[in-house]
């Protein structure tokens, strides 16, 4: 796979006299097809390789990377990392590492049909069929369909003796639909992805999937907007994942806590959510992204962030674990070999409770059933404690039943208040991921997953 031995690069750093060095080799291949109203707008492949290097010199960290796997260029890169670490000596944040057992491993996500062996014409035919179905729905004026595939091979080696190889394949389909009904435009975006091979595409009924969404966006164009205000809501699985990722996950990231930029700083052991709320971050869960090891070679553990409403832990790299006196959790991740490590979520979700969804809605009587199909994502300001996310078309609940479709809404909450308002948690755990995007932080996007059961929250702020 690589024409460069990561262990040899580690030796280059040690020969320079660094205290610590680790090396991230990456070989990334992707395919992308975009069908725009029946015409191929884009069809391409990408093959990217490179090496990222971190050194620690007198406690100060320097990073460097190069696209060249040529030995002399890699030597230059190691030297650059060493020099830039020394340039930071003026006001350094000195690091040290939490100890853990040496990591040795070689893991690959499972698949049965290699997507790279499937001819492009077969891939295009999936989208073409979907396009015909969607454009057959009256009111649909624009259909954009994407098929994405990626294979991400990574090698990690360090001067502590770690050596880990990970390989992950992901594949998925997305759509963006536009309806124009009686002079009113409406849009809907959705996607379905899996850590899998071509078998995922073959085993799904994509025509039915896009037909449901086309009908929904047409119906939504005629639907009213919700008046702004506070509502009792039942959030579906996808919305729960978004809420936890934004409302909670980011503020629990160790680097954000360490920087003094999180409203959760100093609150370990405090009650921050209702007793019904237990939140975990887990690198290996059905439906989620595949993260058996992080990009620091640490095995990704199932990490409890909230246990029965009490803040139980933060997400950590080796360095944040040391500073904040926590255990390494396997959450140090990079977007690519070019990037420095950040503490990131993997699959963040709520553990299931004992409510049936229908029971939860019936018991609410009045409010909104908020659906994630068509959501554009979310964002948080972790120190001000404000978070926000959008939904897809949703339903007004009256008399304990979903009565009327309404357009998608923007929801807003405060981290330390919203999770205390959870008063019902469903049995139906669902976790999802995406090959088309992920979580953005500090100009790095990494694949994540999220979800949970249906959850009811009393008094959520809604903007129409």
């Amino acid at each position: 796979m690589f024409m460069l031995d990561a262990i040899e690069v580690v030796k280059l750093g040690l020969n320079l006299g660094v205290d610590f060095i680790d090396v991230r080799l990456q070989d990334y291949y992707s395919e992308y097809i975009l069908l725009d109203n029946g015409v191929i707008r884009e069809i391409n492949t990408s093959h990217i390789r490179g090496v990222g290097i971190r050194v620690v010199v007198n406690g100060v960290t320097g990073y460097s990377s190069t696209y060249s796997l040529d030995k002399s260029e890699v030597e230059r890169a190691v030297l650059r990392a060493y020099k830039v670490a020394k340039a930071s000596f003026k006001a350094p944040h000195k690091v040290s590492f939490q100890e853990r057992p040496t990591s040795r491993g070689r893991v690959s996500s499972s698949y049965s049909l290699e997507p790279e062996d499937i001819d492009f014409s077969e891939k295009i035919s999936v989208l073409k069929a979907m396009d015909s179905v969607a454009r057959g729905v009256s009111g649909i004026i624009s259909v954009t369909l994407r098929l994405g595939y990626e294979r991400d091979n990574r090698v990690y080696a360090s001067s502590s003796g770690d050596y880990v190889e990970c390989s992950r394949r992901m594949v998925g389909v997305s759509t963006r639909l536009v309806a124009l009904v009686e002079g009113t435009y409406e849009t809907l975006y959705d996607q379905k992805s899996s850590v899998a091979g071509w078998e995922f595409i073959k085993s799904s009924n994509w025509d039915e999937w896009v037909l449901e969404r086309a009908k929904l966006v047409v119906e939504s164009a005629k639907a009213p907007s919700v008046n702004p205000g506070q509502y009792d809501v039942v959030l579906d699985n996808e919305m729960v994942g978004l809420m936890l990722h934004e409302a909670f996950g980011h503020a629990a990231e160790g680097d954000t806590v360490l920087a003094g930029n999180s409203i959760l700083g100093g609150k370990l052991g405090e009650k921050i959510a209702s007793d019904l709320v237990t939140i975990v971050d887990n690198g290996l869960v059905e439906g989620g992204v595949f993260v058996p090891y992080d990009d620091e070679g640490t095995p990704k553990k199932k990490t409890y962030l909230v246990k029965e409403g009490v803040l139980a832990g933060y997400l950590h790299s080796l360095t944040t674990a040391k500073f904040l006196r926590g255990e390494p959790t396997g959450n140090a991740r990079v977007m690519s070999y070019q990037h420095p490590l950040l503490v990131r979520q993997t699959n963040t979700y709520m553990e299931p409770g004992d409510w049936e969804v229908e029971e939860m809605v019936r018991d609410m009587k009045m409010g909104l059933y908020i659906s994630g199909c068509g959501s554009m994502g979310g964002q948080v300001n972790p120190l001000m404690g404000s978070f926000t996310f959008t939904s897809g078309p949703s339903y007004i609940v009256e008399g304990g039943e979903p009565k009327k479709l309404v357009k998608g809404v923007m929801l807003s909450g405060l981290i330390l208040e919203t999770l205390k308002k959870v008063d019902a948690v469903g049995r139906d755990l669902v976790v999802r991921t995406s090959v088309f995007g992920g979580c953005g932080k500090d100009n790095q996007v990494v694949r994540v997953g999220g979800g949970g059961p249906h959850v009811r929250v009393r008094g959520f702020t809604i903007g129409g």
Partner: protein, 453 residues
Amino acid sequence: MVNVLAALDRLLEKARTSGLDEVEVYAKRYVERQFKVSNDRIITGSVVEDYDVGLRGAIGKKVGSTRTNSPALDANSVLKKLYSVIKASPEDPHWAGFPSDPRGENPVNCFDAKTAEMSEEELAGTLIHVMESFRESALRRGAEKASVAEGSLTVRISEVFIANSRGIQRSVKCTSVLAWLTLSVSKGGSFADKTLIYDKRGLDVRELVDKATREGELAVQFLNATPIESGNYDVVLSPLVAGELLSYSLAPAFSALNIIEGRSPLRGKLNEQVLGEEITILDNPGVEMALGSRPFDDEGLATSTKYVVYKGVFEKALQSYYTAKRLGVEPTGNGFRPHAAGTPVPQFTNFVLSPVSGDLEEFMRAVKRGIVVYEVIGHWMSDPVTGSVKATITHGLLIENGAVKKPVKGVVIGGSIYEWLTKNLVGVGRDVEVVGSCASPSLVVSNVRAGGY
């Protein structure tokens, strides 16, 4: 280092003899130096050298592309991959080939030599100086504690190369600087933050320090912020927020591709009054040191300054070569691609909303009951297809009779950007601020829906 031009020449030559009718090569090489901070300290320094090559080709009306970053570019294997992609692709009936450009380049400078020559030690020193100014200005305004919680200073030197089989050959060297720093302040047990964003072609240290000082002075205002009652409010948008909302809810609607494909409400509205008479919008690739300033687009076509909206009238859509040929009009030099192998689509170089009169302070004094908005989140989820604008306020001030009543956060504002910029538009300021590739003054909008408690 890779001899990019020689490598591209070899690729073009090989492509001509490999069964492709046309070919285009886009390459970007860059060096990026970055210092990240955490809690007033430099936590990491990094240097990235990278290279990105995209190759697009066509056989008849079948088009495809491939991307690599390998310096030891094996032209045979790259072209073989490209050929297989193109052969599988159905024909695009509208394909008109790659462009040629008799007009040459727009003489715009996007390179700042002083920035490019700064040493790593100088960059680290500048960052420390800026952080000090940021903290001290907040402490002067009454904060008990102030620290720069997170952020970074990044300087990039990039070279772009474009060549195609119709004779285009362009190259340009540009610099860019991004500083974002979040200041955390506290007083009496309450916390707030304020973010500084500086995103330009060159680093003017004095300008950056002045900006840090201004933002730091604002921070303490947002201590003890809370949501407010739901209702309709007059809203004063700071230049930063106005630019962010316009960039996501309005700017993509001027793309000719979105208009053609039914993803813009401006379809069929050329030369019609679509916004208020106070609104004039330019695509201006010549804004001094703005991030979108550049001599040619990602197809190698010369950029140009043009009115997109003049006094509310939709004057001109933004074109790539593909959309221009499809519509039978001249290309406008607005074809930009998401990555080296991506298909160019029409986008602004710099989105410029022309100034009128007044500024944020004047607007604030004139508000009877409203919100001044300094920072938002979630604005990027606005929808340019419907014109629906939405965002959640993280840093706002409730104003009553021209005076600050209380700080505000956690309030969702929303509506139609076309209504905001016509019947609800109260004022367009003259206080233009350039952030990234967007230049906007303050805006005042009446009767905005706000969701609070």
